[in-house]
Structure formats: structure tokens, C-alpha cells
């Protein structure tokens, strides 16, 4: 195996720019590893070898000709399979979209093409991003490179396992309640959910429109920042897209420091009831930050208690409407029952066969939450809880520059462990959901291994809306402290994934 694939994206970019390596060479290195390990990890649902290499060839040709190239030109990337791509099937992890080739590119995909980044393929996810483990993918779960008997997190487990397993240097994820950050935490990688509206959602197959946000998946903070700078920005196709620029995350990552930073520990998420190893690593990081000049303050966010409840009303409600378009008429699967069925029966049979159990559960729940007579009690109240959570954030950010918590209560769990218990599964997102409800940015970075199982834990950083730069500055600083203590990157502790027999 080429050691090239293990390098950080920022290093690979330098090697590409200096001409020490070509994009074709680099793309081949990842494609080779994908060929060898994807059968084990199931990170990719579709590998785009031909198209990726064509981009690489073009980059190399231009570079050889001395043409000016975008910053990340030639750096391969993986894209979560809920973003539309005209040159690759887009399934959102669902049977109902099997084989669908979209007629348009998502804005983020367009930006990656403009940046001339070879797209290696489309990564696995829980069906329509509903889940925390990829176990709800219609195409089988992805595996955690640290332990292939365990989940890589979800919904973006394909992207996290691809990046953690060195099947891609960076990837695109989407985060509705933690789908970038939770997978990052359990695979020892970095994942960011930007401020709502920072990245265009156009072409992202919507789960819950008011919560969804696209973000970078990487192995270190600077890499996430470089990718964030490519995909962020106003898009007229997304009316909720922020008109103003939030600045350069790469610059923020390069200039990070913890000196004088007020770090808020959220009382309600301070690790109480979390796995001991997760909590221990979290406390160690707090000490590290203090040593580096940060000040720890305690903040209280009492409404976070209701975050999961509000989330599991708003998400299914919006999803039930967003997923109504999957009706067999204009795209996707069609199931025609016996006899001479009407369109109503064809639609119902298609949706029965095309959607998995978790999707159906949430659609029915969302339909209920919006029904007349229940709207005020459920959807209406949940929207009010959102206001309370925003107020909690506002109050907390009066006292602190960033808030921190463990990203997730546990390390990666085993396949099947929570499959039959939806409520237990939902609890994974307890720390990540508030940021989606409030629209504020959040980042998970590696936070050491839990001693009891030697598996990665993550620390989450939260900043006020539009202050994404703080996450990159402080995240990079904390990452540097960690690497100084560990003597290497956390990902370098990961065992080598063994190719299948």
C-alpha cells in the first residue's frame, strides 16, 4: 500500500503543487486501496474510477502546461450519496432510488468540479440519512476501520469510514442531527457542521430542510478548513443560503490559539452518564486547554433536555413532506401491484417496497406530528423549543467563546446493538442535536481512545452562528496539543484494516 494515502490532505496538496506527485498517481493510490478494502468496509456505494481519473489527467495536463489551478486541484474526494451527481448514480442509501442518475449536479458537487477535485465515488449512509450507524442503509452497513465489528457512526458512516480507512483524503458529509460529527467521533476523524446556510443545500436530497447542513469530513482540522473554503458561499439556488462570507477557515486554522479563550462546559452535557473512558478523555482535554491558557467556565443550557424530543418531531415532520416526492412518477422505483391498480395503489406499493422500516417509521411519525389536531402540541411546540435552545446558546455565548462537550456518549457500538430500540439509537445524538436546532456551527475532533475499549472518542466544539472560524482556530490549537501529547495523529493509532479473504 502506498503511504501516500495516509498523508493529510494539506500535505498532498503541497506535493501536487510542487509537482512531486501527480493527481493521476494519487487518484490511483486511492482507487487501488478502495478496490482492496471497500469490499471490507463498504464505504462506497459507487466508485467513479473513470471520471475521477479523467479529472486527474486534466489537472496534471494543466499543471504541466503551467496553467493556474485552483488550490485543491487534483486532490481526490469522496461524496456522500445524498448529493446529486450527473455522472454517478445517487441513491441516498435507499432502494427507491436504485440506479437513478440525476439530471443535475448539486451546488457543492459543482464547486468540487470547479476546484477540479477528482470525485472517487459516492459514500454509504443510512437510508435518507436517517440513522446513526449506517445499519439502515439499503445497501448494507459500512464498517468502522478501527473495528469492523462496529458501526462507523451515521448517517455519514460511508464518508467517515472512507476517511478513517484511508480510502479518501477528505469527504463530504451532511449533518441533520450529528451525521457528520458522530461518525467523526467514533472513527477518530474530524467533522464539521457549518452554520446553517453557510453551504448551499441545493442538490442535497433533503432529510429535514431546516436542520440539514453539508460539511467537510477529514483527518485533521486544517484539511476540513481547506475543504470548507471550497464548498462554502452564497448560492442563489438555496434561499436559506447566507449572503455574506464567513471568511477563510484555512486562515483561521493556521492561526489558532487557546490563550485567553473562554471555554464553556455545558452543565447538561458535561459527561454525566457518559461512558467512563469518553468522560475521562474529555476532562483531560479540558486540562490541556487550561494549560494552554484557556479559561474554563460552566454554562447551563436547561432546554437542551428537550432537544431530542423537539428534533424527533421536527425532523420526521419535514422528512414526511420532503419524501412525498418519491412516488414512482418522475424518477426512481415503481412497483405495480397485481390486477389493474390505480395510481394511488402504485404509489403506496412503491413506497412500501422502496422505503426501509426506519424511513417508514419516521414518515408516519412526521405525518402524525403535522396532522390537524396534533400540530400545535407536537410540531408547534417543537418549534418553540427551538427558540428556547437558541436562547440557551445566546446566554451561554455571553459567558464563553466556544462550548465543549463529548461529541457522543459512547464509543462505536457493535452492529445490531441498538437496531431494535429506536429510542436508544436516538440518544446518541444528544450532544449534537442542539446545534442543528439552533443553526449554530459544531465540530468534532479526535479526543483520544477510551481506555476500556481502545476506541476513539471525540470532543465537540460549538460556536455562535456565523462564527465558524472560532471552531477551526480553537480546534486546530487543541489538535496540536493532542498530537504533541500523543506524538502522532490519533488516526495513526488505528489498526491496519485487513483485506477480505
Amino acid at each position: 500500500m502506498s503511504e501516500l494515502v495516509k498523508k493529510n490532505a494539506s500535505e498532498l496538496v503541497e506535493l501536487l503543487q510542487s509537482g512531486e506527485i501527480t493527481s493521476v498517481e494519487l487518484t490511483h493510490a486511492f482507487l487501488d486501496r478502495i478496490e482492496k478494502l471497500n469490499p471490507v468496509l463498504n464505504s462506497y456505494l459507487h466508485v467513479n474510477a473513470k471520471e475521477a481519473l479523467a479529472t486527474a489527467v486534466e489537472v496534471d495536463r494543466k499543471r504541466a502546461a503551467g496553467e493556474k489551478l485552483p488550490m485543491l486541484a487534483g486532490l481526490p474526494i469522496a461524496v456522500k450519496d445524498n448529493l446529486t451527481t450527473t455522472d454517478a448514480p445517487t441513491t441516498a442509501g435507499s432502494k427507491i432510488l436504485e440506479g437513478w442518475i440525476p439530471q443535475y449536479d448539486a451546488t457543492v458537487v459543482k464547486l468540487l468540479r470547479e476546484e477540479m477535485m477528482p470525485i472517487l465515488g459516492k459514500t454509504n449512509l443510512d437510508e435518507f440519512a436517517m440513522g446513526s450507524s449506517t445499519e439502515f442503509s439499503a445497501y448494507g452497513p459500512s464498517k468502522n476501520p478501527w473495528d469492523t465489528g462496529r458501526i462507523p457512526g451515521g448517517s455519514g458512516g460511508g464518508s467517515s469510514s472512507a476517511v478513517a480507512g484511508f480510502l479518501a483524503p477528505v469527504a463530504i458529509g451532511s449533518d441533520t442531527g450529528g451525521s457528520i460529527r458522530f461518525p467523526a467521533a467514533v472513527t477518530g476523524t474530524v467533522g464539521t457542521k457549518p452554520t446553517y446556510g453557510a453551504v448551499s443545500r441545493y442538490g442535497l436530497i433533503a432529510l429535514a430542510s431546516s436542520l440539514d447542513q453539508i460539511g467537510p469530513v477529514s483527518r485533521n482540522v486544517l484539511d476540513a478548513a481547506l475543504l470548507s473554503d471550497v464548498i462554502s458561499g452564497y448560492d442563489k439556488h438555496d434561499s436559506t443560503s447566507l449572503p455574506e462570507s464567513l471568511g477563510s477557515m484555512a486562515e483561521a486554522a493556521k492561526s489558532g490559539s487557546l490563550k485567553g479563550v473562554r471555554v464553556g462546559v455545558i452543565k447538561e452535557l458535561n459527561g454525566e452518564g457518559f461512558q467512563p473512558g469518553v468522560k475521562a478523555r474529555f476532562n483531560e482535554s479540558l486540562e490541556l486547554m487550561v494549560k494552554a491558557g484557556a479559561e474554563i467556565v460552566e454554562v447551563s443550557c436547561p432546554s437542551f433536555e428537550y432537544a431530542i424530543a423537539a428534533y424527533y418531531l421536527i425532523l420526521p415532520a419535514e422528512a414526511s413532506s420532503n419524501l412525498a416526492k418519491f412516488d414512482s412518477v418522475r424518477f426512481g422505483m415503481r412497483v405495480t401491484p397485481e390486477g389493474n391498480p390505480t395510481i394511488e395503489r402504485v404509489m403506496a406499493a412503491t413506497r412500501e417496497a422502496g422505503f426501509g422500516p426506519e424511513v417508514k417509521r419516521r414518515i408516519i411519525l412526521g405525518t402524525y406530528a403535522l396532522s390537524s389536531g396534533y400540530y400545535d402540541a407536537y410540531y408547534g411546540s417543537a418549534q418553540k423549543v427551538r427558540t428556547l435552545i437558541q436562547r440557551d446558546f445566546d446566554a451561554a455565548f455571553e459567558k464563553a467563546d466556544v462550548l465543549v462537550s463529548p461529541t457522543a456518549p459512547t464509543t462505536a457500538f457493535k452492529f445490531g446493538e441498538k437496531l431494535e430500540d429506536p429510542l436508544a439509537m436516538y440518544l446518541n445524538d444528544i450532544a449534537t442535536i442542539p446545534a442543528n436546532l439552533a443553526g449554530t456551527p459544531g465540530m468534532s475532533i479526535p479526543n483520544g481512545l477510551a481506555t476500556e475499549d481502545d476506541l476513539p472518542s471525540g470532543i465537540q466544539l460549538l460556536a455562535p452562528a456565523r462564527e465558524d472560524k472560532r471552531l477551526y482556530a480553537i480546534g486546530a490549537a487543541l489538535e496540536a496539543l493532542h498530537e504533541a501529547v500523543w506524538g502522532k495523529r490519533m488516526i495513526d493509532f488505528a489498526p491496519e484494516v485487513k483485506a477480505g479473504a
Partner: protein, 500 residues
């Protein structure tokens, strides 16, 4: 779909009070659709004015057309509505194959305009005030074609085809409050109301307002209750009534149908009904039920619409003259009697008349043509005058030809017919067919000579003061000239001859 039994109309009104409510959908004539940049033109080849947004492909997102919002504000202001300082879009969720996303992006609890009023004059001259509850923005659905069976109708069709060119076309839906007290004139009021809405949106320039093309569509709610009863009767909503005549007929039909049912101890089912123009009846559609749960919620992909006072005042300042003021002005300018003017208004021909006068016709001549012969021809074909293939410019030309004596009234009617048949404009038809009246006195004198030879005593009778005797000669001359003579001139020549 048997024809229901009906109660005699007068009897129905004796027994019951009528309450109507009208929902009018106006299609805006923006360049592009409500939420995407596709052309707002659905006459094109099917599915060619469509994109990921208006066919609801996964991942696509809507973006609001600024012009559509401004047009909606203009409509709201013209209807005397308040403009909401904070409006938003909602999703109305229901499955139907012409609805690309299986929800309609519409406005629900925060429409852009609300609480307006409009005065409507009916043919009797009575004026009713109709209260507008709201005017809101929404998107149109695609177009279904039912194939197989033998009717082209939905029932018995083997399959259906969907064209989404119309999906996403901007609509403004104008909803009245319940309208009481029109009594026997309720059907006329309904039609006059829709005519006014048409006039208004046309004058605003925000819609092409052609009913036959579906630019203006009306759903008519009708309920009746025994006089003196407080509780409203169960209403039906008749859809698909797309001409002014149909609206009037459909409302009248529903009154008679409901009256018969109630008078015979039956109950009215709350349902949508369909108007069948050919048979002049309504038929039962889908019953309204608890299953109609649209699960409205705020559209999370769009942000609120908050028109500034400045924008509202700017649009208000650019509104055209109010229809009532315009009528007053035109009646004065044209010097029509109240009766003449009302006749024009009731025929819905004010725009046509104004344009015809602007193109050079005398007001009375313009009125005579439009409300007379043209209206008669439209009626004979069961059409609205507006749907005939004749323009105000044609009528002005025609009136001028008659006024100048180039043709007479009878030839004028013939020319009109030819225009409607597509033979060109009046001047061209007159020239092509050589219809111009013979004004050459020499030719007329020769014809008079010939006629007098057959009736030699006529000149004598005229000299004796029996002027009507000229009639027989005039008739003979006109016959000889195949009608292309100015009868007045012929008469003058004969009298000159007698007195020579």
C-alpha cells in the same frame, strides 16, 4: 351522473336564502415560474419548460420570483386589501400525480393580502359589496391527460399522462368571505364578480386574464338555508367553471339542485362538484372528509416575505385607475345613458369599447357593434365575446367604413362575419370582395332610370307629397346594385328627379 331533479328557481328563492363564496385563481403572466427560472408558458411541447425544481427532483430547492410577489401585492392593493408585513409560504401536503412534489407550495396562515372589499354591479344595476378574505400566492399544478376508455375523461381511462410545463406557474388565489343577500341575483353576482377580477388583473397587467385558457379560474361555493335560519347550510364547491356564463349557470343550477334535495327532506353532502358545460349540470366529485388533512406547515426551504412600506406605496402609486372610477369617467366621455352604459358593463365589453374608441370609432357606433351584432354572434356560438377572433382595431375599422358611407350597415354585418371567419381585417375584405357602396351618381342614375321605366307613376306620387312611394324604386335600385349602394343617396337622387 344523471341529471339531478331541480326545484323551480323562483320557488327555490322563495323558500331559501342563498350564500355564495368564490375562489378565483389568477395565473400571473410573469416571464418565469413561481419558484424556478423555467418559462411561464405551458402551450409548448410537453415537459420542455421544466427543470429539477418544477418536476420536484430530489435535492432541488425553490426560489421565489420577485415579480410574482410584486404582482400579488398589486392585486391585493387593487382589491382594497391590507398587505401583510410578514407573509410566508407553507406546504399543503397531498398526493396527486400532477403535483410534482406531492405538496403544493402555497400560503396558509400568513397570506400576502387580506381583508379587502370590492363593489360589484349586477345587470339590474344593483351594487353589492363583496368582502375579500384573502389573496395568497401559490403554484399551479401540471396537466393530466387521460388516455384510453373512450371519453378522454378520468373515469374509465386506462392510464394518464403528465405534462409539468404548467407546474409551478405563479397563481394568486383570491377568496371571498361568504356573500349574503344577493337573493335571486346570486348567480349574476358571481359572474359579475369574476368579471371584475378579470378586469382588475388585466388592467394591472399582471395576468393575460383569458378564461378560456385557464388564466382565470373560478371555484364557486354555494349553500342555501331556509329564510330566518341562522346556521349556514352545507356548501358544495363547484370546480372547473371557466367562463362567465358557466359561473352564472352553475350557481343557479346548484341553488335549484340543493333546494330540491332539502325541500324533499334530504341533506346536502359537503363535496366538490364538477361543472359540465355541455350538459349544463354539476356532478358529484370527491367528498370532503376528515381524510382531507393537508398537514400545512411553514415551507422550510423559503424565508418570509416582508414587503417594506416603501415597496407597498410604490406599487400603490402605480396602480391603474379603479374600475368604478374608470366607469364613471368613460360614461361621461362617451355620453352614454345609464342604460346604455350598464349594458356595456354587463356584457363585459368595457375594455373592448374603450380600445375601439381609442382606435377612432365613435362611441355609439362602437357600442352598437359590440353589444349588438358581435354579442349576438358570440351568443349564437355559445361563446364569450372576448373569445371571438375580432379585435377592437377591426371593429374601429368597420365602424369607420360605415360612418364614412363606404359601406352600409348590412354590408357591415357581412364584413363582420368574414372577419370572424378569418378572412382578414374589414378594409381588406371590402376591397377583396368589392363591397364598397356605389357612390358614382352616374351608375345610380342609370339604375334609377331603369326602375322608373317599370314604375312610371312614382315621380308623380312624390310630387303629390307621397314620399313613401320612393321606397319601391329604392328597393329596385338596391337590388340591381346587389345591395352595394347607399340607400340614402338613392333616395336623394329620386326626390331630386321628381322635383326637377
Amino acid at each position: 351522473m344523471a341529471k339531478a331533479e331541480l326545484m323551480n328557481y323562483e320557488q327555490a328563492l322563495e323558500k331559501f336564502e342563498v350564500v355564495i363564496g368564490l375562489e378565483v385563481h389568477v395565473e400571473l403572466n410573469t416571464n418565469t415560474k413561481m419558484f424556478c427560472g423555467c418559462r411561464n408558458d405551458f402551450g409548448d411541447e410537453p415537459n420542455t419548460n421544466v427543470c429539477p425544481i418544477c418536476i420536484g427532483l430530489p435535492g432541488s430547492l425553490p426560489a421565489v420570483n420577485r415579480k410574482a410577489v410584486e404582482s400579488s401585492i398589486a392585486i391585493g392593493l387593487a382589491l382594497g386589501c391590507e398587505i401583510a408585513p410578514n407573509g410566508r409560504f407553507s406546504r399543503k401536503n397531498y398526493f396527486y400525480p400532477d403535483l410534482a412534489k406531492n405538496f403544493q407550495t402555497s400560503q396558509y396562515d400568513e397570506p400576502i393580502a387580506f381583508e379587502g372589499t370590492i363593489d360589484i354591479e349586477v345587470p339590474s344595476g344593483a351594487v353589492y359589496t363583496v368582502d375579500i378574505e384573502r389573496a395568497h400566492m401559490e403554484e399551479d399544478a401540471g396537466k393530466l391527460t387521460h388516455v384510453g376508455g373512450n371519453t378522454g375523461r378520468i373515469q374509465g381511462a386506462e392510464y394518464s399522462l403528465v405534462d409539468y410545463n404548467r407546474a409551478g406557474v405563479p397563481l394568486v388565489e383570491i377568496v371571498t368571505k361568504p356573500v349574503y343577500g344577493a337573493g335571486a341575483e346570486a348567480p349574476e353576482l358571481a359572474a359579475a364578480y369574476v368579471r371584475s377580477i378579470r378586469e382588475i388583473v388585466k388592467a394591472l397587467g399582471v395576468s393575460d386574464a383569458r378564461m378560456e385558457r385557464g388564466n382565470v379560474r373560478c371555484d364557486a361555493n354555494v349553500s342555501i338555508r331556509p329564510h330566518g335560519q341562522e346556521k349556514l347550510g352545507t356548501r358544495t364547491e363547484t370546480k372547473n367553471v371557466n367562463s362567465l356564463r358557466s359561473i352564472e349557470r352553475a350557481v343557479r343550477y346548484e341553488i335549484q339542485r340543493q333546494a330540491h334535495i332539502i325541500a324533499n327532506g334530504g341533506t346536502i353532502t359537503q363535496e366538490t362538484r364538477h361543472w359540465h358545460e355541455d350538459r349544463g349540470i354539476t356532478s358529484s366529485g370527491r367528498p370532503k372528509s376528515d381524510a382531507d388533512d393537508y398537514r400545512y406547515f411553514p415551507e422550510p426551504d423559503l424565508v418570509p416575505v416582508q414587503p417594506s412600506n416603501e415597496l407597498i406605496e410604490q406599487i400603490r402609486a402605480s396602480l391603474p385607475e379603479k374600475p368604478a372610477e374608470r366607469r364613471k369617467r368613460l360614461q361621461g366621455e362617451w355620453q352614454f345613458s345609464d342604460l346604455e352604459f350598464r349594458d356595456v358593463v354587463n356584457s363585459g365589453l368595457l375594455d373592448e369599447l374603450e380600445e375601439t374608441v381609442a382606435k377612432g370609432a365613435k362611441p355609439q357606433a362602437a357600442r352598437k357593434w359590440w353589444t349588438g351584432e358581435i354579442a349576438r354572434l358570440a351568443n349564437a356560438e355559445g361563446k364569450d365575446v372576448a373569445d371571438l377572433a375580432i379585435t377592437p382595431a377591426d371593429v374601429a375599422e368597420l365602424a369607420t367604413l360605415v360612418e364614412s358611407g363606404k359601406i352600409n350597415d348590412r354590408i357591415g354585418r357581412e364584413v363582420l362575419q368574414a372577419v370572424l371567419e378569418g378572412a382578414g381585417n374589414p378594409a381588406k375584405i371590402v376591397a377583396d370582395r368589392g363591397l364598397e357602396v356605389v357612390s358614382d351618381d352616374g351608375a345610380l342614375q342609370a339604375a334609377i332610370d331603369e326602375a322608373l321605366a317599370k314604375q312610371p307613376d312614382v315621380l308623380e306620387k312624390i310630387r303629390e307629397g307621397k314620399l313613401q312611394a320612393a321606397g319601391a324604386v329604392i328597393g329596385a335600385v338596391m337590388q340591381a346594385m346587389k345591395g352595394q349602394a347607399d340607400a340614402g343617396r338613392v333616395r336623394e337622387l329620386i326626390i331630386e328627379r321628381a322635383n326637377a
